[in-house]
């Protein structure tokens, strides 16, 4: 058994009794799932149907809370104490999972269906060696002996492209990086040779370049093992790259279903259309082709409207028709297996161009407001912890950071985890002081002034918008109170009354109803909380706002609205926006200049156009290729980086990117490993930190190309 390759004994052509089976692997029919809480029944999924054929990958997309995970858990028959399947059936290889006994289910779950979750650590036992955890699976389910199990573990670990498999098998989960852990989870799922693999946002916790590599891996393995996949994601681009078919969910229902091409290019549901219009595809532009946000909010499961769930937010809504009846999935003439849940799909002119919203004039870029000169921030850490005996290590979080930002300008700071974005923000805000170098705000040096010593004016001028909307507001204080507190601290308004008026104006500014002043944060949605966070940052008329991934935790339909809001405020107040992000699509959409960071170094800096077209820094090139783009007409150059981002504690010698660089071979004499490359100006205002020769840089091709229509 062990000498046979796993791939040869593809399990998907055998049914549960070991006989040949060629029907659908998974067939979900009119499934309804409810959660029962103290107050009410929450219908999380209603009338949901889907089919996965052998070897096929089905993508399930939708906003947070639309019921994607619930479907997955329903298939796993793992809905917790208060969740229940209240209608419909789930057939796995022709047998209804609802009627199976717990023993049968347990058996199937372990061996035929495997699930991969968002958080890799959730599926790994921290106290057990990787090898043991992997071997356990077939030893329990197939009763094979230890040696055979070890062989198989070695094989799958090699398959998921982990370096030095033997060492990995002998290590504990916490000794691996996030990307490696997720690979182990995938390996574990593959140990039992499942026929169906359910992936619930498997890469959300990973960095973009690592995500690209994991997605690549999943795709290859799917082909190799012939495993069917149910791929859950909120990222349309990822689904485009991984799946054959797609199902779009909205508020507990499937609203559109079909092949990737049909749904991406010939969508027939207003929600799908609105979704595509709200994501920044190449070509969108904040001034003349702004994103179109979906108006309104996602309905809570118990507050769904009559008739069409999407009705209140739909541009094509027709009263008396859309809200008077339950709407069924209906096939679309002329397309195979393409269905939609919209009454008017035949009547809508799907090819009508986007109604161009008002064209906005770009704010005039003014004088330099903020200048960083050769900024460095080093941390000293005790290498051998316990008693901090002697050996101190220096972590270089920021190396020779130099740039300037002007009034009304958006400067994007791009990079993956550990590149020093947050450290930079902390130094700028005064929560930490710089090790060396200068920060000049209006020609006043603030780099070595901790926040307690800064003047109220300086503090009010530099403010921050945080990433996690669920964490950014104090849960025990009303929204209005929190804004008023900021006003008090910034010494704005002479009395409580004046401050209250100002607070209400700030709510207007971020387009929230004034009634929200008396609400508690938990009564607000993620997007609304983020707006309050923005209002608070602008309380003291901030000149510079550091936005640390302000929309990455929000749903796409809300992202557009919040981004637009930021842009509007910027135009009005001539704010300088430092936009920290790893999402290059949104960066391209809204920034004027881009700074790419890797392990504390600025590797590339230039205008948006310069950075997004060749010549690139090799890291920028890889980053661009890694970003999933939800557009079938976009052709991307395929670049996959090996390995993970090195830890800042142990940076590589020479060029920080040399451990993963694909271009390293072009530089003669191993220079990349020996010396840190100098900063070179390749064009007016475009700098790159790399040893590559001018010829090599000139030979680079664009990563993203839009096919001519």
């Amino acid at each position: 058994m062990s000498d046979q390759s796993l791939a040869d004994q593809s399990p998907s052509d055998l049914d549960l009794n070991g006989e040949v089976y060629d029907g659908p692997i998974l067939e979900i029919d009119k499934l309804s799932i409810s959660f029962f809480t103290r107050l009410r029944e929450i219908p999380a999924v209603m009338d949901f149907s889907a089919k996965v054929m052998p070897g096929e990958a089905l993508g399930l997309v939708g906003e947070s809370g639309c019921g994607k995970s619930t479907v997955a858990l329903g298939v796993m028959q793992d809905l917790g104490v208060n969740g229940r399947i209240v209608g419909g059936s789930i057939k796995f290889k022709g047998r209804d999972l609802n009627t199976m006994s717990p023993e049968e289910l347990r058996d199937i779950r372990g061996s035929q269906i495997a699930m991969i979750y968002q958080e890799p650590m959730a599926s790994l036992n921290p106290a057990m060696k990787i090898g043991q955890q992997l071997m356990e699976v077939p030893m329990i389910h197939e009763g094979i002996n230890e040696k055979a199990a070890y062989q198989r573990a070695l094989e799958v670990v090699t398959d998921v492209k982990l370096p030095d498999p033997k060492r990995i098998l002998n290590s504990y989960p916490h000794q691996l990086s996030g990307g490696q852990q997720q690979r182990i989870v995938i390996a574990m799922a593959l140990m039992s040779k499942p026929s169906l693999l359910i992936l619930d946002e498997p890469t959300t916790a990973l960095d973009v370049t690592v995500e690209a590599a994991v997605v690549e891996l999943v795709k290859d393995l799917g082909k190799k093992y012939g495993t069917s996949m149910l791929f859950i994601s909120h990222n349309l681009g990822l689904v485009l790259e991984t799946c054959d078919r797609i199902c779009v969910m909205y508020s507990g229902e499937a609203v559109e279903r079909g092949s990737i091409e049909d749904v991406f290019d010939k969508m027939r549901h207003p929600y799908t259309q609105a979704l595509f219009r709200s994501i920044p595809l190449p070509g969108a532009n904040k001034n003349d082709r702004p994103l179109v946000a979906i108006p309104g909010n996602f309905p809570l499961p118990h507050e769904r409207p009559q008739g069409c769930n999407f009705g209140p937010r739909c541009d094509y809504f027709e009263a008396g028709r859309c809200d008077s009846q339950d709407i069924k999935m209906a096939p679309i003439e002329g397309d195979e297996l393409h269905e939609t849940r919209c009454l008017k799909s035949d009547e809508i002119d799907w090819n009508a161009p986007v109604v161009a919203g008002e064209t906005k004039t770009k704010g005039e870029i003014g004088d330099v407001v903020l200048r960083m000169e050769d900024l460095r921030k080093y941390y000293e850490v005790n290498a051998s912890s316990l008693f901090g005996s002697g050996t101190k290590k220096v972590v270089k979080a920021n190396e020779t950071l130099s740039f300037e930002a002007r009034e009304s300008e958006t400067l994007a700071i791009v990079g993956e985890s550990g590149c020093g974005k947050s450290t930079f923000a902390k130094v700028l805000m005064g929560l930490e002081t710089a090790t060396s170098g200068e920060i000049l705000l209006y020609n006043e040096s603030i780099g070595n002034t901790p926040i307690e010593k800064r003047s109220t004016k300086t503090i009010a001028d530099v403010q921050m918008v945080f990433q996690n909307p669920f964490d950014t507001l104090n849960p025990s204080m009303t929204v209005g109170r929190q804004i008023i507190r900021a006003l008090e601290i910034f010494k704005i308004g002479n009395n409580e009354g004046e401050r209250r008026t100002r607070m209400l104006e700030l709510l207007d500014l971020v387009k929230l109803p004034r009634a929200f002043a008396d609400r508690m944060p938990r009564q607000l949605s993620g997007g609304q909380k983020q707006r309050v966070g923005i209002a608070r940052a602008f309380a003291g008329d901030a000149k510079i706002v550091v936005a640390d991934e302000p929309v990455s935790a929000l749903d796409v339909s809300v992202q557009a609205a919040v981004t637009d809001l930021l842009m509007d405020i910027q135009r009005e107040h001539k704010t300088t926006l430092l936009f920290i992000s790893h999402d290059l699509s949104i960066v391209r959409y809204l920034s004027d200049r881009v700074m790419v960071m890797y392990l504390g170094h600025v590797v590339e800096l230039g205008t948006t156009d310069q950075v997004f077209s060749p010549p690139y820094h090799p890291y920028t090139e890889a980053l661009l290729s890694a970003v999933p783009i939800a557009d079938t007409s976009v052709k991307k150059k395929h670049i996959v980086l090996e390995g993970d981002i090195p830890s800042a504690m142990n940076p590589p010698s020479g060029c920080p990117f040399q451990t993963r660089c694909n271009w390293k071979g072009h530089v003669p004499g191993g220079l990349c490993e020996k010396s840190v490359p100098p900063v070179r100006m390749v064009a007016e205002g475009h700098q790159i930190k790399c040893h590559l020769s001018d010829d090599d840089l000139a030979s680079m091709e664009p990563v993203i190309q839009i096919a001519a229509e």
Binding site: V86, I451, I459, A460, T472, P475, A486, E488
Partner: protein, 484 residues
């Protein structure tokens, strides 16, 4: 006059009923436990039309029976209570008479529950308590004693006799014994729960004891929390050397033999050196510091308003503090008599010092842990980036968001403090020996426990039910705060 029997006339009907129902209840419970090993589990089957059907089987049947019997049992108990209240004094025996005495408490409890349940959706976490059976039972037990304490302590109701007066001839008499000389059947004509070894009324002492317990235990716990919070917040927030030092100290205190401390505190030599007084002076200043920092951090941006608020609050607290600390006959005696509003007996001071000493290290640790967790939140970072001072962040950004676990712990700790009060009394420390508080009475009754159990048993049951109530209440709160 005749002695009262336990259940009087109604016993003829209710006692057999109670016997039968509780017998059946126990049988059903046993059956349920046995069946749970064999019978198939209860499953819910969804039908095609979307309805859900419970497949109970024999196990479900037994379960229903248990539930029914439980209600029957409750009904019998309610019957005892109601008959006691309604029938004239004496007709429903001792139990009836006791319930009659508790009438105002019963009414208050019913009103509290009805009002709370009607408005539970508007009452936040308190309202959610009424979705939780355990929490409701706990809350009921606690409120029973709180109401009893208030009616007895403030309005002098419920108790039938003075807790200190002795009636000759009733020494160690059994429950229901008539008081010599009383000739009308009326409250006060009997020692309802018997007499103790000094011929005092056990029932009345238990009632009056509740007032002492309900006053001292929560207050002492509040002080322990003040100390724990004031030290735990900065330890968790700043970390570093300060944290290491304090944590070491906390461990040291926890390792200290508490009993030894108690004895040290009351030895005359110690009292003479003035150490307990100084300890009290240090201990009681914490609430002042706490209020000062709390209000200053909040209002320092508006100096005028801040000064007014601080002057008022600190003025009031200051006077309270001084009269608390200042005491004739000790080293700290500096206030003129008219300013010294009240004196606290030395024994109670010992109680406070002990409760704080025993509890604050643990509270310190809990608060420190919570602060370390919460300080990583973005809203704390947001406060830092707008230049808030550390104390504002600790007291207004971190503390309110740590309240859930702290409230639960507070309930549990009142329970411990009550027991500690009893323990101290048991060693003859703390309160004066004739005090009717439960710990002291249990202690006093312990000598003759094997011959006359009732003088010790009655306060013991009271203490048990109150601590049980606090624990259940804490459980309920914890469970509810974990949900959503």
């Amino acid at each position: 006059m005749d002695p009262l029997s336990w259940t009087g006339a109604v016993g003829a009907i209710l006692n057999p009923a109670l016997l039968v129902v509780s017998g059946l209840f126990i049988v059903a419970i046993i059956l349920m436990i046995v069946l749970s090993f064999f019978a198939p589990p209860v499953t819910l089957q969804s039908n095609a039309d979307g309805t859900v059907m419970a497949q109970g089987g024999i196990f479900g049947l037994v379960e229903t029976a248990v539930r029914g019997l439980l209600f029957a049992l409750l009904a019998v108990i309610v019957a005892y209570v109601v008959s006691g209240i309604v029938l004239p004094y004496g007709d429903a025996g001792i139990i009836g008479a006791v319930n009659k005495q508790f009438t105002p408490v019963w009414i208050s409890l019913v009103v509290t529950f009805v009002v709370s349940i009607i408005y539970k959706r508007k009452l936040g976490i308190y309202g959610k308590l009424f979705d939780n059976i355990i929490g409701m039972v706990g809350f009921g037990l606690v409120m029973f004693w709180v109401f009893t304490a208030i009616y007895a302590g403030v309005f002098d109701m419920i108790a039938t006799h003075d807790p200190l007066s002795q009636v000759s001839g009733l020494k160690n008499k059994v429950p229901g014994v008539p008081v010599p000389g009383a000739d009308v059947m009326a409250p006060g004509s009997h020692y309802l729960l018997g007499g103790d070894n000094l011929a005092r009324d056990v029932f009345s002492r238990m009632i009056h004891g509740s007032w002492i317990v309900v006053q001292i235990a929560p207050l002492a716990t509040v002080f322990a929390f003040m100390v724990g919070i004031t030290l735990g917040l900065p330890a968790g927030y700043f970390g570093g050397k300060f944290d290491t030092g304090l944590s070491f100290l906390a461990n040291l205190v926890l390792a200290f033999p508490v009993i030894l401390l108690f004895y040290l505190l009351v030895t005359p030599e110690m009292v003479e050196t003035g150490i307990p007084s100084y300890m009290a002076a240090v201990l009681f200043i914490f609430p002042l510091i706490f209020a000062l920092v709390l209000l200053n951090s909040r209002y320092h941006t508006q100096p005028a308003l801040r000064t007014i608020i601080l002057a008022i609050v600190l003025g009031v607290l200051g006077v309270l503090y001084l009269s608390l600390v200042n005491q004739a006959g000790t080293v700290l005696h500096f206030l003129p008599g008219w300013l010294d509003l009240f004196d606290v007996p030395g024994g109670i001071l010992v109680v406070f010092v002990s409760v704080v000493f025993v509890n604050s290290p643990t509270i310190y640790r809990i608060v420190r842990g919570l602060a370390m967790d919460i300080k990583t939140r973005d809203y704390v970072a947001a406060a830092q980036t707008r230049g808030e001072g550390p104390w504002y962040i600790m007291l207004w950004e971190i503390l309110p968001n740590a309240r859930g676990p702290l409230i639960v712990d507070f309930c549990l700790r009142i329970g411990y403090a009550t027991i500690l009060l009893g323990t101290l009394g048991f060693f003859g420390l703390g309160l004066p020996p004739e005090s009717p508080d439960w710990g002291s009475t249990i202690n006093a009754g312990r000598g003759l426990l094997s011959i006359y159990p009732h003088p010790a048993l009655v306060p013991a049951i009271a203490l048990l039910s109150m601590v049980l109530g606090l624990n259940l209440l804490a459980d309920g709160l914890r469970e509810e705060s974990l949900k959503d």
